[in-house]
């Protein structure tokens, strides 16, 4: 059986014992929405948006910022902060072990990455959640890194942008994680007082404690198409309330309709939209440049 055909077949009807090693890992990808089989290089060139149906796949924090920021300059903020298991929390597994596992799998120390840089020449601080790190959950390090990102924005008087992707608070840090909601919201209140814009970009998924704090507090809230965004998870709502969930419930389009977000922006339009928006909010001339970081124009000299 040819390898591409093998990928198409559901695993139950595949014959076992086939030589899987002949297939380079991840040469092909399948769109979870339209099931189209895509050549991974094409998909990557398209910012992990399905070329067939425009489904936005989840992407990691580094890649997110890579796609968003101009290549130069970039300075990482808060990388020195690393998580500790203050409570010696243990469920079916030790928190300590979960951290090590997540760190190995993601090559990150925790679930929030921040870079100071530019988008089409507009200077800003940009943070992104790493969903693969324990579901992008917010614990002490995520909270503190977010605060340091906001403080950098305050210090340099440049806007803050945060791409959220999180299941919510990190249970393994118990009440300390709940308190990160208050902490991150407080620093945003300070940003607000200082007249520094904060744009929150909600990506798939943004739920629970992250949604109910920093992610909903943007001067402008932007959602990627089709992202799941809400406070309570759809399963929790179904189970506890026994209500039938309406079509498209808690998706970006639903949030736009109900007034929770300002706009839905395609990932491929993110740079142009945000740089234009931020330049206006900070009273700067319109930025030149497009949606590919590599193609970005150098900042206009003045």
């Amino acid at each position: 059986m040819t390898s591409w055909l093998k990928k198409l077949l559901p695993s139950q009807i595949r014959t076992s014992g086939g030589n899987k090693k002949n297939v380079p890992e991840g040469l092909w990808a399948k769109c979870p929405s339209c099931n189209a089989v895509l050549y991974r290089a094409d998909l990557e060139r398209n910012m992990d948006v399905c070329p067939k149906c425009a489904h936005h796949m989840r992407i990691g924090a580094r890649r997110r910022l890579e796609l968003f920021l101009d290549p130069e300059p970039r300075v990482e903020i808060g990388a020195h902060l690393i998580p500790v298991d203050h409570l010696k929390f243990k469920d079916s597994k030790k928190y300590k072990d979960r951290l090590v596992q997540a760190q190995k799998a993601t090559e990150e120390q925790d679930a929030l990455i921040t870079l100071m840089g530019q988008v089409n020449g507009v200077p800003l601080v940009a943070s992104a959640f790493e969903f693969r790190f324990m579901g992008g959950s917010m614990g002490s390090v995520v909270g503190e890194r977010f605060v340091q990102a906001a403080n950098a924005a305050l210090e340099h008087k440049i806007p803050l942008v945060c791409f959220s992707a999180s299941g919510g608070a990190r249970m393994q840090e118990a009440l300390f994680s709940l308190m990160q909601m208050a902490k991150t919201s407080a620093v945003l209140a300070k940003l607000n007082e200082a007249g520094i814009p904060f744009i929150s970009v909600l990506t798939d998924p943004t739920m629970g404690g992250v949604s109910a704090s920093l992610a909903m507090l943007g001067d402008v809230n932007i959602a990627e198409p089709g992202a799941l965004i809400g406070f309570a998870g759809p399963r929790v709502i179904e189970q506890t309330v026994r209500e039938t969930l309406p079509e498209g419930f808690q998706r970006s389009e639903f949030l736009l309709e109900h007034g929770a977000v300002d706009m839905i922006v395609d990932r491929r339009e993110m740079r142009a939209t945000l740089s234009s928006l931020l330049a206006m909010l900070t009273c700067q001339p319109a930025p030149a440049g497009g949606n590919q970081p590599a193609a970005a124009e150098p900042p206009a000299a003045d």
Binding site: V84, K90, F176, L178, Q180, G209, S211, A215, P246, A260
Partner: protein, 321 residues
């Protein structure tokens, strides 16, 4: 009195039933059984003392949710005078799971806001079991901003299983409503005193819980997620709730030890529901003390201190020297 004994209190319940029985018999009996009753009563007290001396976090969470536990309205009645309830978020509805209004605390006008669970079935339904929808949080925010405007300190009482997970609540922006309250409370230019009186259920509790002094009743709980919820996610079984309660450290004693709350208010033997008056008086004392201290601090310094406290929350390591 039917005290609605919890499962771990059954030995006490049995003794109390025996005492009741003896009292009933005693009415038409010549034999002096007063002595026997006194003996049993002291035994019951001793038993209660020994059981309550060593409660597990899971048992404490049962007391925090006790159906007879005093609610916000019970405390308002006993602690304040001239309470004028204010209703509505001015946008959509009046959410009865949060009550609020102006009142006097020993003559001093304050704004009081708290979750309210409802006592009987009809009231529980009307108050949605103390689980607010966005309009509840927005009502609270309206009252808190009003308090700032008129220089009234804010007193909140926290007692909720959590924010309501419903379709309407999501449609009307549950996340934003909670987030906005955190945002506003962080910078309000008036003293805020928060007391957890029963269940401090996650974001639904925190949304009226950012303050200059945060305290808990002895047998109340405060947690990022309910023990049941945590157990079903991390242990894949709701039956592990007692383990989850232990791991989450949801009790007043543990949270005080961790530096997450400022004070613990003792409860009468057997829990707050055994004596509303005593607990109310104890809370009242702490409110007066806290207020006296907070009102001495200039407003700007007060807000800055609250902010610094929030910024200090959490534990991490640094790879920088």
């Amino acid at each position: 009195m039917n005290l609605n004994f919890l499962e771990f209190e059954q030995p006490i319940a049995e003794l109390e039933a025996k005492i009741e029985e003896l009292r009933y018999v005693g009415d038409d009996n010549e034999i002096n059984i007063g002595e026997e009753i006194a003996r049993l009563e002291s035994k019951s007290r001793e038993l209660t003392e020994s059981i309550f001396a060593d409660l597990s976090p899971w048992q404490i969470s049962q007391i925090a949710r006790h159906p007879m536990r005093p609610y916000t309205s019970d405390y308002i009645e006993r602690i304040f005078t001239d309470f004028q309830e204010l209703h509505g978020d001015r946008a959509y509805a009046d959410d009865l799971s949060i009550i609020g209004g102006v009142a006097r605390l020993e003559g001093r006008p304050v704004m009081v806001i708290g979750h309210e669970k409802g006592r009987d079935t009809k009231e529980k339904v009307a108050r949605n079991f103390g689980m607010p929808r966005p309009e509840g949080y927005r009502k609270a925010k309206r009252l808190m901003e009003m308090a700032e405007r008129f220089g009234l300190p804010i007193v909140t009482f926290i007692d909720t299983p959590g924010a309501y997970p419903g379709v309407g609540a999501e449609e009307r922006g549950q996340s934003e409503a909670i987030a906005r309250n955190l945002f506003v409370m962080a910078r309000l230019k008036t003293p805020i005193i928060c007391t957890v009186i029963g269940e401090g259920g996650s974001g639904g509790a925190l949304a009226i819980g950012v303050g200059d002094r945060v305290q808990m009743l002895q047998y109340s709980t405060y947690s990022v997620i309910s023990p049941e919820g945590c157990a079903s996610i991390l242990w894949k079984s709701a039956e592990k709730a007692p383990d989850a309660a232990e791991a989450l450290g949801i009790t007043s004693a543990r949270l005080k030890e961790l530096g997450l709350i400022d004070g613990v208010i003792g409860e009468p033997l057997g829990g707050a529901h055994r004596n509303y008056t005593t607990v109310a008086a104890a809370i009242r004392t702490t409110l007066l003390d806290a207020l006296a201290e907070l009102e001495k601090v200039p407003t700007e310094a007060l807000v800055e201190r609250r902010y610094e406290r929030l910024m200090a929350l959490g534990h991490w390591d640094s790879t920088e020297a």
